[in-house]
Amino acid sequence: MPDMYIYLFIMAGVSYLIRVLPMTLIRKPIKNKFIQSFLYYVPYVTLAVMTFPAVIEATQSPVSGLIAFAVGVLAAWLGADLFRTAVFCCAAVLAAELFL
């Protein structure tokens, strides 16, 4: 019978290694232009990919998720900060699901 704490130790160890290795091993600025550009685009691509269509599946109804998505894009475009954008999205879902 596998031990639960060994399971958790493995999960924690692997999760930390994967995060700590690049940060501690890469000490110098990377000169290669391709890698530089690649790493510059990575955060935007990852976040965009994780946002859509996941946001429509997160809510009880896809319509309210879609509304939250639209509200979030609009709010961020108009200059709302992280907290406000998040609150607007939550409020949009609460409001939308009253009617759905």
């Binding site: 596998p2 940060m23 691509v45």
Partner: protein, 249 residues
């Protein structure tokens, strides 16, 4: 915050300000984490974890998809090696994020900050840290972690203990907080840079297709994220290489 970091201690007012900013920006992340980790706790409970073990898992792993996949394996009584491999794959995107962060660190920063900052690289905390101009300030990250990490860990424990007591309506509303934050990171960048704007639209479209096309939809969300990130970032880097190294963010 254009101020230059001179000393990496909390005596520096600039670091104190960064710490406070981090705490402020960590609150919405914590709210979103709470909702997500609550449902993660339900998965942990099904895998036979106690509330304390759920707390421990989330406190140490800080990974939504990775933990979820792990709990599923634990529930199935999987081998240790299998658990290690799956944890590695589902968390592979953090490897990329860690690479990206390594390029934004001040070379003069004491090395131990690298070990501390690495502990809590998550989608959200990475997103807000990288969105700030200049070198990353470790205290900004610590502030955000201080607010967000306890929510994640306690949310999981509560999910194990309380199951499905939170009204669905609230879970539903909370769960979009994370996505709102993602948008708040990427949309302002899209407004400034047309290449990023076009790239983000491509990402939405590609991600939508991948989620519903038969070949890709069978993959886990984490695997799809890695694949799409690699392909789309490579394409963007080949087609629109960044001019000069400075001023990214």
């Amino acid at each position: 915050m254009g101020c230059k970091i001179k000393k990496y201690t909390l005596k520096n007012t600039c670091n104190q300000a960064a710490f406070r900013d981090g705490m402020r920006d960590g609150i919405p992340i914590g709210l979103g984490y709470f909702a997500v980790s609550f449902s993660l706790g339900i998965a942990a409970k099904n895998a036979g974890l106690t509330p304390f073990q759920g707390f421990l898992a989330s406190f140490l792993c800080n990974a939504s998809a990775g933990e979820y996949a792990g709990f599923t394996l634990i529930a199935a009584g999987a081998a240790y090696v299998e658990l290690a491999v799956v944890t590695w794959i589902t968390n592979a995107r953090y490897l990329l994020m860690s690479c990206a962060m390594s390029q934004r660190l001040d070379p003069d920063m004491p090395g131990y900050h690298r070990f501390l900052m690495a502990f809590h690289i998550t989608d959200e905390l990475f997103g807000i840290a990288i969105a700030r101009p200049g070198c990353l300030n470790p205290y900004y990250s610590y502030g955000a972690v201080l607010m967000a990490a306890p929510c994640w860990a306690f949310g999981t424990a509560l999910g194990v203990a309380a199951g499905s007591l939170l009204p669905l309506r609230l879970v539903s509303a909370f769960s979009v907080a994370l996505y709102g934050m993602f948008l708040a990171v990427i949309i302002p960048a899209a407004r400034k840079d047309r290449v990023i704007a076009a790239l983000i639209i491509c990402c939405f479209a590609a991600s939508f297709c991948a989620a519903y096309l038969p070949v890709f939809s069978g993959m886990s969300g984490g695997t799809r994220t890695i694949l799409l990130t690699l392909v789309l970032s490579t394409a963007a880097a080949l087609l629109f290489p960044k001019e000069e190294e400075s001023k990214n963010a």
